[in-house]
């Protein structure tokens, strides 16, 4: 039996006493799966894990509060769950986690780049996985791509490929891709001068359509319906189509995620107009890691760093005036 079948068996077993298992199923086109809410055996047949299992199912947990729910989770999904548990936003005993070793997930935008000049990703009619490659049927014939070339950025810096907190783990655990996140993406970004960075954000944010997909795709944005983005009390933002308001929303999101973001990258993936909003959150995460030695979603018993303090903060070098 393949891992896929083993997971299906685990899901079927879980459904014996849990009403709903959230995983992934076939999506609207070959490159994309969709979150799948499985309630019966027929639903389980549609289950798919692996390279297309992009969406973070932890997103749906706060709305499942009070009902025992099972999730099939990648390592990064489990971190989101862990953070929700650490913040007491979901109860661990209301959860059942089915883990499997994740070897990375697809980034459709990277496929688009690889297909540049040939076709759009939306023209791919079939995807087959073959070991470390995928084979795409395109109008111009088959295209073979290495998974590592089209995997999401986060997969290349994955420290937790296995959902360590899973209640049941299907398959052999994988070794971490890296031991340490070097934040090389930020280092690259920081090659820009301050002026260039400002210009960068102005340009990127000018494209924002204020759909808030970034927020709604974030498993830790639990305010959702009550987000300050559209409230008048408090009234932080206007609804105008200007960079200042759009950027400010990203700053709200980033500051609210400081010390909480697990880096799942769903905000950036969800952005329909490709604004690299994860960069802002990672800038906080890097500092949080350096300053407080804290990585969100790893230890459910540690208080997130902005909800606590130490009398002496050895890593904070205050300015001497």
């Amino acid at each position: 039996m393949s891992i896929q079948d083993d997971i299906k068996a685990a899901i079927a077993k879980a459904l014996q006493d849990i009403p709903c298992v959230i995983g992934w199923g076939a999506g609207p086109e070959p490159l994309r799966a969709t979150p799948l809410f499985m309630r019966n055996a027929a639903d389980v047949e549609n289950f798919t894990a692996g390279f297309l299992a992009v969406n973070n199912p932890a997103l749906y947990l706060p709305s499942c509060k009070g009902v025992k729910t099972a999730l099939v989770v990648k390592g990064c999904d489990a971190r989101s769950v862990g953070q929700l548990v650490a913040e007491n936003l979901v109860k661990r005993d209301e959860l059942y986690l089915i883990g499997y070793p994740c070897s990375g997930v697809i980034d459709v935008d990277k496929v688009a780049a690889r297909l540049e000049g040939k076709c759009e990703p939306g023209e791919v009619t079939r995807l087959r996985e073959e070991n470390e490659d995928v084979i795409l049927d395109t109008p111009g014939g088959e295209v073979r791509l290495a998974k590592k070339d089209i995997a999401a950025d986060k997969c290349a810096r994955c420290r937790y490929p296995n959902a360590e907190s899973a209640d049941v783990f299907i398959g052999e655990k994988r070794a971490p891709v890296v031991d340490q996140d070097e934040y090389a993406d930020l280092a690259d970004f920081e090659k820009l001068s301050l002026e260039e960075r400002k210009a960068f954000w102005e340009k990127e944010l000018s494209r924002c359509i204020r759909c808030y997909a970034c927020r709604n795709a974030c498993p830790l944005c639990v305010c959702r319906d009550h987000c300050v983005a559209s409230s008048r009390e408090p009234h932080w933002l206007t609804q105008a189509d200007g960079v200042r308001d759009k950027l400010f929303f990203q700053l709200i999101h980033a500051t609210h995620l400081a010390g909480r973001c697990t880096g799942c990258g769903e905000c950036e993936r969800a952005c329909p107009v490709g604004i690299p909003v994860l960069t802002l959150k990672r800038a906080f995460s890097r500092q949080v890691e350096d300053m407080f030695g804290y990585m969100a979603g790893i230890d459910v018993n540690t208080t997130p760093p902005l909800l606590t303090f130490r009398l002496e903060e050895p890593e904070i070098k205050e300015r001497e005036w």
Binding site: G117, A217, S230, T238, Q239, A270, P272
Partner: protein, 359 residues
């Protein structure tokens, strides 16, 4: 006004395109698809800009006519400085929009405006309550759409009465042929824009016709029973289970509606600082719980299932019921393509038709 298309076929070579665009940009704000990072967006064109034609635009061009936010009027409450405490009120109308041209929009984008037009022309009030903000911009905007060379997995314009080569709602149609583009005026507005271009040769006209036919043939076949959609969705209005299942993975962001060429909803807010301020309107979307939040705190569409039902129902049932069967959907598929959780509106409609048949 629709023109005799045979007399208005023009040709612009790849090499001559920048000069033509520059000419268009001289008399109006010219919007053209531009690649920005991973997205393709309609931006004011400037000399040197590459027009992105290989990837289809991520967003529709509706914001050219229906800006994401716009001033309705501004106000100044400053009174007579000699009489503090006696507030004044001076209102200032928003400034007139200038002319705009959209180059190489998708043909579905143009059809999207056809869903807007009756609503903003006051259809609900017998034409009395016209939205002049929209109508002025619509009047001053010339749309040049392009023939799609192929269909994407998410395309379904043919389901809702469109086609990859449709010029409905547009002022001119652009079709790529050997060596350049054939441009075909659809309206007088379109014709006047194309006036300076050399006429297309018969060969070029034939090539364009062939390209358009090819595009139409490659388009997906519509399902047979789309016509049943309005009734089916109506029948499922009270079927909470159906909508809960369909909406389970929806994350109720606004990506679908804001990318949609036919979604026309807006919100109105006032912003002020000190004595000055403005009333503005900005895009709003029915997937947001705030969309229907009432002052009392009551929200008739608190659940996302109800909101998704409204979005699908509006496009495929309520709207067509009062607009001669025209769906408020142009089948561009952006809502599917860009949905972070891959909600597929086609599947919902088809499931509804199937489900209603069983009821």
């Amino acid at each position: 006004m629709v023109m005799n298309t045979d007399t208005a076929q023009k040709f612009v070579s790849f090499e001559a395109l920048p000069a033509f665009l520059a000419k268009l940009a001289a008399g109006a704000t010219l919007y053209a698809p531009r690649r920005e990072n991973k997205a393709v967006v309609y931006r004011p064109w400037q000399a040197g800009d590459k027009v992105e034609l290989s990837l289809r635009p991520t967003e529709s061009c509706k914001h050219v006519v229906f800006p994401r936010s716009e001033e309705l009027f501004s106000f100044d409450m400053g009174g007579d400085p000699e009489k503090p405490g006696k507030a004044g009120l001076t209102l200032q109308e928003a400034s007139e929009p200038g002319p705009a041209v959209v180059f190489a929009a998708l043909s579905c984008d143009a059809r999207g405006f056809l869903a807007f037009d009756p609503v903003y022309d006051g259809c609900g009030t017998g034409g009395k309550a016209k939205d002049t903000y929209y109508l002025k911009r619509r009047e001053k905007t010339t749309l040049i759409v392009r023939t799609c060379k192929s269909s994407l997995n998410t395309c379904f314009c043919t389901w809702v009465g469109g086609s990859p080569a449709s010029s409905e709602g547009a002022d001119a149609l652009l079709t790529e042929i050997n060596g350049g583009y054939l441009l075909e005026a659809v309206t007088d507005k379109g014709a006047s824009l194309l006036a300076s271009l050399p006429a297309a040769s018969d060969e070029q006209s034939a090539a364009s016709r062939a390209a358009r036919e090819q595009a139409v043939q490659s388009a997906p076949q519509p399902p047979q029973d789309m016509i049943k959609a309005p009734a089916a969705l109506g029948a499922l209005f009270d079927s909470a289970a159906f909508w809960e299942k369909q909406s389970a993975h929806c994350i109720y962001c606004g990506a679908c509606t804001y990318l949609c060429p036919t979604c026309y909803c807006f919100n109105i807010t006032d912003e002020s600082n000190g004595l000055k301020g403005l009333r503005m309107r900005s895009w709003d979307n029915c997937m947001s719980p705030l969309f229907t939040l009432e002052t009392s705190g009551h929200n008739p569409r608190q659940e996302k299932a109800n909101r998704l039902k409204n979005r699908v129902g509006h496009k495929f049932s309520y709207y067509p019921k009062i607009h001669s069967g025209r769906f408020s959907c142009c089948g561009c598929g952006r809502c599917i393509k860009s949905c972070p959780s891959s909600v597929d509106i086609r599947k919902i409609v088809l499931d509804a038709i199937k489900e209603a048949a069983n009821v």
